[in-house]
């Protein structure tokens, strides 16, 4: 499923001038210094990806710290068949999905209390401050939000998103298609 072309493509696209990733060969599994370099190189990108999934910067930073802690534990077992940042993104996205699930469980009592009461319209001031796209992404299922962020923010192809998330290209295409249909309705044609 993960081909060399996908791996190379991820690395090429990830190498933006702001945070250039070192080549795949420069990371050695289990080496402390290499993980520190990976942390410094990819922390900002991971936080931005997670912000698109969880909806707030504070929560995204918490999830990123948790994701890096998980990745640090798994670092000796990183096989290298997927680029380090894609591997890291997979851990981060799974962490964000777990966060969203916990958040849903926490909000269940208040949801039950609000049954029958019409939902409040979003505060226009807050909407203007945070932009309109991120709250809409947060309303999407987390797996769809992750696919949208990786596809349209990082610029990955469907194959590369599949490599990063560990699913098939067909699944990625379906998630992106469903998410775009929802966003078109909610955002209108202006996006």
């Amino acid at each position: 499923m993960v081909t060399e072309g996908a791996v190379t493509g991820i690395l090429e696209r990830a190498a933006t001038p702001a945070d250039v990733l070192p080549p795949l060969a420069q990371y050695t599994p289990g080496v402390q210094a290499d993980f520190d370099r990976l942390y410094r190189a990819s922390f900002v990108r991971v936080v931005r990806t997670l912000t698109g999934i969880v909806g707030s910067l504070e929560a995204a930073e918490d999830c990123a710290q948790e994701a890096f802690t998980r990745a640090y534990r798994a670092w000796p077992g990183w096989s290298g068949d997927v680029p380090a940042e894609a591997w890291l993104h997979r851990i981060a996205v799974n962490t964000a999905i777990s966060y969203r699930r916990r958040e849903q469980i926490r909000s269940l009592p208040s949801l039950i209390m609000r049954l029958g009461i019409p939902p409040q319209a979003p505060d226009p001031a807050q909407r203007a401050e945070s932009g309109t796209l991120l709250p809409e992404l947060r309303r999407l299922p987390p797996k769809q939000a992750a696919a949208i962020v990786l596809r349209y923010y990082h610029g990955y192809s469907n194959r590369e998103v599949a490599a990063a998330l560990g699913v098939s290209e067909r699944t990625v295409g379906q998630r992106i298609s469903d998410a775009l249909a929802i966003l078109r309705i909610r955002l209108g044609e202006t996006a």
């Binding site: 402390q32 993980f35 520190d36 942390y39 410094r40 922390f43 900002v44 936080v47 931005r48 912000t51 698109g52 910067l57 930073e61 710290q65 948790e66 890096f68 802690t69 990745a71 640090y72 534990r73 932009g131 796209l133 991120l134 949208i148 962020v149 349209y152 923010y153 610029g155 298609s177 775009l180 966003l183 078109r184 044609e189 202006t190 996006a191």
Partner: protein, 144 residues
């Protein structure tokens, strides 16, 4: 899918996410894991040695029926047939009652009650008995 919508989505997404002010923490969250791992690397051999000692001690206490380590040593010496310097210095001294109570039941059955020094004499007595029949056989042949 409408490509203009996707292009607008890309622009919006990049502008909103790039506008976020994200700083890399100087102390990463996983650094606590690092110190924890170091502590575990140091403590693991000690923990394993302690666990092995506890396991051996509990087995010995269960087998000997006594929590006293001196009793374990005495039991082990008796069951292995090792003579301690104390036994050699005092051959006539009666052994303490505790080892004889929990000694190997096979030895207790072989030894007659009340004569605890006999098991050590038996191996020396048997070869003497085997040597005596040889002249007797010769005498029988001479007779025949």
């Amino acid at each position: 899918m409408d490509s203009s919508f996707e292009q607008a989505l890309t622009r919006r997404l990049r502008s909103e996410l790039d506008a976020l002010h994200v700083t890399v923490p100087a102390v990463p969250g996983y650094s606590g894991q690092r110190s924890l791992r170091f502590a575990w690397a140091v403590a693991r051999p000690l923990a394993m040695a302690l666990a092995a000692a506890l396991l051996l001690g509990s087995v010995a206490a269960f087998a000997s029926g006594s929590p006293n380590p001196k009793v374990w040593v005495t039991e082990a010496e008796h069951s292995l047939g090792i003579q301690t310097p104390d036994d050699e210095n005092a051959p006539g001294a009666a052994p303490s009652p505790r080892p004889s109570e929990s000694a190997d039941p096979g030895e207790d059955r072989a030894a007659p009650p009340g004569s605890r020094s006999e098991p050590s004499d038996k191996p020396t007595a048997e070869p003497v008995e085997r040597q005596t029949p040889e002249p007797a056989d010769g005498a029988a042949e001479a007779d025949g």
